[in-house]
């Protein structure tokens, strides 16, 4: 089933060719609709707003008056402590050290595989596709112990890893992210590439282009939308991950930003207002990425869903 998207071009009111519409009957339901949406949106945003409110109050205020109370004083101290005390910029850089290479390599490798299995017919195409897609859906706890052992055994030169192992190195984290995320990206990209007309590559082949040329000059440029979408998705997922570093990166200083959040807790004493501030701060980059690339984001999630 091919799905086509036709922009809705219904004549606007007053234009020639205007179709009679049930505008009058739609009025009341439309108002109700807006009402429902407003209520839903308020409910949806309320918890986040409450967390924000909590984070702006000093611990002494909430300790004395409780959390559900009008703030006697508001302060940005929690944010300052979270930012400086938990050293957020440092940990953010750590995350970037992992996320950026991981995204680039994942997309590159996934596009290779997608190119191979969607533009050429081999018998292995479908099994490979199944392999990659299933690999992405596995729960991570299932593989952590053997993976940890593997990481302890695989050596790396000293300039790549202080520990001289894949263990406790950024390369190791990048590697596991790539290995796992390639699955989803292969699925999405292969579906997308399938829709690119054969004529384009055939023309290139006629001109004597090698497969690499085809890939570079024909396919890749056309894949910009799904690549951008996947990049934003992957950023969110890798950014929010703390599971791999938990076991595979014991050096606290090198851990990604979710570790910084954990550092705000004391052994016994937890300042919830501080943690709220920290949590919201750490959420900022993902929210920024989301807003900037919202359109791609929507497309990204659905690439795998509707195509193919």
């Amino acid at each position: 089933m091919t799905v086509t998207t036709r922009p809705e071009r219904v004549a606007a009111r007053g234009e020639p060719g205007e179709r009679p519409r049930r505008t009058r009957r739609v009025r009341a339901p439309r108002v109700v609709l807006h009402l429902v949406l407003v209520v839903a949106t308020t409910l949806w945003l309320a918890p986040i707003a409450y967390a924000l409110y909590t984070s702006l109050r000093p611990y002494s205020d909430t300790a004395e008056h409780g959390y559900v109370s009008l703030a006697r004083s508001l302060t940005l101290d929690n944010y300052i402590t979270a930012f400086a005390g938990a050293d957020l910029p440092h940990y953010f850089l750590n995350t970037m050290l992992v996320a950026v290479p991981a995204i680039v390599v994942t997309l590159l490798l996934a596009s290779f595989v997608a190119f191979g299995i969607s533009r050429f017919s081999w018998r292995l195409n479908i099994p490979l596709l199944i392999l990659f897609t299933a690999g992405n859906l596995l729960p991570h706890q299932v593989i952590i112990t053997p993976l940890y052992r593997m990481f302890l055994e695989i050596p790396l030169p000293e300039f790549m890893s202080e520990s001289e192992l894949l263990y406790d190195s950024y390369w190791g984290l990048i590697l596991i992210h790539v290995a796992v995320q390639t699955g989803f990206c292969v699925f999405v990209l292969s579906n997308y590439m399938r829709t690119i007309p054969v004529e384009l590559t055939e023309a290139a082949t006629m001109d004597g282009a090698s497969v690499l040329r085809q890939y570079r000059q024909v396919i890749l440029p056309l894949c910009r939308p799904p690549l951008a979408a996947l990049a934003t998705l992957e950023f969110t997922w890798i950014y929010n991950d703390f599971f791999w570093p938990l076991v595979l990166m014991p050096t606290g200083e090198k851990r990604p930003i979710m570790a910084a959040l954990a550092n705000l807790r004391g052994q016994y004493f937890v300042d919830n207002n501080l943690v709220a501030a920290g949590a919201l701060l750490t959420a900022v980059p993902t929210v920024v990425v989301f807003f900037l690339l919202q359109r791609q984001f929507v497309n990204g999630l659905t690439m795998g869903a509707t195509k193919g």
């Binding site: 005390g85 050293d87 200083e253 550092n263 052994q267 004493f269």
Partner: protein, 437 residues
Amino acid sequence: MTARDFRPPSSLLPGAGLSRRQVLLGLAGAAAVPLLGACGGGDGGSGGDGTGPVSIGSNSSNPNSAAAWQATFDAFTAKSGIQVEVNTTDHETFKQQINSYLQGSPQDVFMWNAGDRKSALVEAGLVSDMSDVWATVGDNYSAAQKEASTAADGKQYLLPYFQFPWAVFYRRSLFEERGYAVPTTMDEFTALAGQMQADGLVPLAFAAKDGWPQMGLFDILDMRINGFDHHMALMRGEEPWTGPRVAAVFEAWRDLFPYLQSGALGRSWQQAAGSVVAKEAGMMYHGMSLGSEFTGEAYDDLDFFGFPVIDPAIGAGAIDAPIDGLMISSDPDDRLAVNRFLEFMSTGEAQMIRLQNEPSEVAAALDADTSLYTPLQKKAAEFIASAENVAQFMDRDTSPAFASTVLTPALQQFIDRPDDYPTIQQQIEQQRKPIFG
């Protein structure tokens, strides 16, 4: 600067403005420090001439605690010229990855707990024997502390640096206002609880959401009813969980339920402590760590008494007083330097650097300068010193696997439905054999 250097936020460091590196360089240059006749020879570790550096894995990530630790390490470096490299992880994560950490590339020394929690690591061969250090500094510790630091093979593996007791905490002013008296026997205790209830207070604040605070109640009831030896044997998996002795513990606990704060399963211990601060609850059986919830004048008002006697024949000589300490990983770089480091950390002087700002703990060393303590800390130190037997708390005394996968859910279940205790005893017992072998 290697990636392992710890850089505490300079604004929180005493003497802010100087980077750690500057301080170290300055001191190293200025200090004469000999260090050395002891060069060469390694006893233990793989080559190392005693000049370090010493690396330590710390689980104290909260900025204030981390700064306090850094001050301690700096004092050591000033005294010995040996650098200390710190790798900090937050407490929870550190505990979670302890096994993978120690098998990977751990630091020379790391922070951990006494009790069976350390023994599990000993049995797995992940830590080094430190009896040689104990030979030098052992006099600075009590017999109970040595006991908790010793493994089944008779050797020591842990060096204590702080400890705190579990006791019944209350606000002195509340007791004075209402004319309550500190109870010494169980009967007096329940009578007091009844009185509090009649006065509209919650007698015992109680939290169970975090999974571990309730273990304290089980521990103390078992020690009061069945004695310290039975309790330790139970923790070691040598005694059955079914049968009348353990049943008696659950029954006594169940009988306390009318006085325990309801909704414990949804309450964190901080919230429970909060009700004591707010004088909504009269007492709370917890570790002295709850002191962090009492600030200012509330802290001055904080007092405690030991859990009362249940069986006069057994008395109240056994308490839970967990010890935190340092352990050596299996293959430290410079064993000599590590020993020096531990010898320093065993002194009261070193331990007090931190504890001046940690009012919820006391130094483990016997020669600690108690004049720097708050009255509460002094009382706690005496309380621990005078105890006949010291246990380490359930989740440190028994096998970690047993504590986390069996006892935690079992006790949660009990608190949800106290009358189900015979079934719960059965379930625990069924799982005891596979885990303890």
